[in-house]
Symmetry: C2
Subunit: 407 residues, 2 copies
């Protein structure tokens, strides 16, 4: 990935990673590694994998989804149903060198691509395998999120049913878990020479997270947490509407942030009197949480009587912790107007589509953003990669193209 | 972290990481590194940081949140308001050695702990700094999630308002982004000798994600995506209720998964006839998504007439992609009964609380789970760490304790 202002090669420059994965988890991880400077070679079947045309689509018919999740990678297209195609992929994945033999995949039911096969060809290969459940069973973000209790906790307090996520959070967490695991395995290999077979189940990522947040122990002790709508759990946080129809999220996680709210809205004396009448202490998380509804009721008229801009000024001047609600189109509008100073976002020319709103890596090294790059055309780098990594000649490549083994 | 079945030291064994962070993002990342074998030293102010008693709480008053997010780390408590305390922390963070000088923090307004100060003491220090916004402004998961358009897209189709997440997804993604960045920086340092100052803003993590999913380009082209309740976007997926009051999420992302649904529910002929009358092709993502409501309507009576167990059998036998809805208490019950074979979950004795439901890392190396460990008592390792890393004598430590500089 390059950006005119950032010409350094990135901390992972020199690593070669073969990505044979589809959808979000594996590819988002692979893209992160590419943004950090690695040469990530994404291998797809000829014509693309199951995710190649996934929605949302550009009006050109190309997939915004695929082209956004696979930026800056090299693209190789191989007929992986043929013996010769499989041999090419295995050779790519296990090509020698201390910075190669790094594989990210999420395949099911492809025994010819097992760790054993890879390790036979390269004993110190590192394979990061993402799966649905720990037994290798099928699961996706949308089924895992319901199974670990998140949908049941989410949604308006009066919703009769659980509310699903739209954001595939588990996929994104799993992607960064996979990149962490790959770099950890590489660290070990650099020290010891040993390869690794690493498995990460999406269901395990989710179960570990709800355990890590203490929510399983909470449920074991107290039973299920009632749905509490847009209120933040365990302290004070909720949304408010302004006089001009905007909405904001206001949060007080610290005593200072709480005091700022009273200051900004002129309600400090109201809350002082309330604390006394309720024998409560709003300077504490538990005091604010227990009385969140009356606190919100006291604040609501103030926001309803002020515009968003007035609210912004008052809250910001007072040092309150808050953020606006925006729609996705609102994020786009702010980006186009340059009003939000969200310089992680960058426009990129995507062949076949045109200008798309893309992003640098959120990881800034030495205060610089990585910049972005377009996604490759499918098979754009097949010849380059096969000649560079496997030493295939033009004649070899011609034969493979003619046979339909590569594209 | 140890487990009777897994005695290998972990791929990051030997690394020493100083974590001076609070809440979820930094600490969840630090815990992942500890689970991978690193010595993670979490430094807190005396008496704990702002997150030490965050909800949910055990009936003992200890925090399930803190003890679940900080398992397996060493705990050091230092009065970081004193010059001598700050000196101790800086010395810990910049102690020499190729496997040290690794810092994860999320501090605001502590110039004595800046990268410049750290780098003056150790030129190749690696500092991973997590912040709210890229300018260093305050932001938390709950404000970022609303600002990047996610809350607006989430919730029942008829909900008049945006619906907040309960899961702090951005914090968890940021935590794994931080661990990836740390290991990438270490990789570079091992090769080049150079340290790194790395910044990760929570707001950037979220903006990058919605860009990476193609959602900003979609909104730029089509405007906002309407809220569509529990329907999965872009293919077929939605929830159904069974005759015995259970709920499941059913998904068809591939033609085979779609065929399985018709097979399991005896509706293949209905859908064939519908395809003809609608001139639709349900074998495609777009065909299924466009007609998701009538597809769901056709399927709903079948699920309403069958129990969860009958549904489980039929869907599983047919090879459908589905998952149950569980409450958090349901996850706990299945864990206790051993019915779900979710062996990533492990029980741990947490001093002060008792048995808690904890988790191994979701990352399995060589097919083994890492096991888990309790969280330390605050300051449990202060003396060990200060003597081991800084060479302080018993007399030094005694003086520091007496002065209230450490605990």
């Amino acid at each position: 990935m390059t950006d005119p202002e950032n010409t350094s090669p990135g901390p992972l420059s020199g690593l070669r990673i073969v990505e044979f994965a589809s959808f979000v988890a594996g590819p988002s991880g692979g893209m992160s590694l590419a943004q950090l400077g690695a040469d990530v070679i994404r291998v797809d079947p000829i014509g693309g994998n199951i995710d190649y045309r996934r929605w949302p689509l550009a009006s050109s018919g190309d997939s915004f989804y695929w082209t956004s999740l696979n930026r800056g990678k090299r693209s190789v297209a191989i007929d992986v149903r043929s013996a010769e195609g499989r041999e090419l992929l295995l050779a790519l994945a296990t090509a020698p060198g201390p910075d190669a033999g790094l594989v990210v995949d999420n395949n099911v039911g492809r025994p010819w691509f097992s760790y054993q096969v890879l390790a036979q060809r390269r004993a110190d290969v590192i394979r990061i395998h993402i799966e649905g459940t720990a037994g290798g069973g099928a699961a996706v973000d949308y089924t895992v999120n319901t199974a670990v209790g998140i949908a049941d906790m989410t949604g308006p307090a009066d919703s009769p049913h659980p509310v699903n996520h739209v954001l595939p959070a588990w996929d994104l967490i799993a992607g960064q878990t996979a990149t962490t695991a790959l770099l950890a395995a590489l660290h070990r290999r650099n020290r010891s020479g040993a390869g690794s077979y690493v498995q990460i189940a999406l269901a395990d990522v989710a179960l570990a997270a709800v355990a890590n947040l203490g929510w399983l122990s909470e449920a074991a002790q107290d039973g299920n947490r009632a749905r509490h709508g847009n209120y933040m759990y365990g302290s004070f946080g909720v949304d408010f509407a302004t006089s001009d129809g905007r909405r904001l999220m206001l949060v007080a996680l610290t005593p200072r942030q709480w005091t700022a709210i009273g200051l900004a809205t002129g309600t400090a004396n109201v809350f002082a009197a309330l604390e006394e009448s309720l024998s409560a202490d709003f300077a504490t998380d538990e005091g604010r949480y227990a009385h969140r509804e009356v606190i919100a009721a006291v604040l609501r008229p103030w926001f309803a009587a002020h515009t968003f801009d007035e609210t912004d000024k008052a809250l910001t001047d007072a040092g309150a912790l808050w953020g606006p609600y925006r729609t996705m189109a609102g994020v786009v509008a702010d980006h186009r107007a340059g009003t939000a100073s969200e310089t992680v976002l960058v426009d990129v020319e995507q062949p076949g589509i045109g200008s798309v709103i893309s992003s640098s890596s959120p990881v800034r090294f030495d205060k610089s953003y990585s910049g972005s790059a377009p996604a490759a055309r499918l098979g754009q780098h097949t010849d380059d990669v096969l000649s560079e990594v496997l030493g295939l000649s033009d004649a070899d490549l011609g034969r493979l193209h003619d046979a339909g083994t590569v594209s």
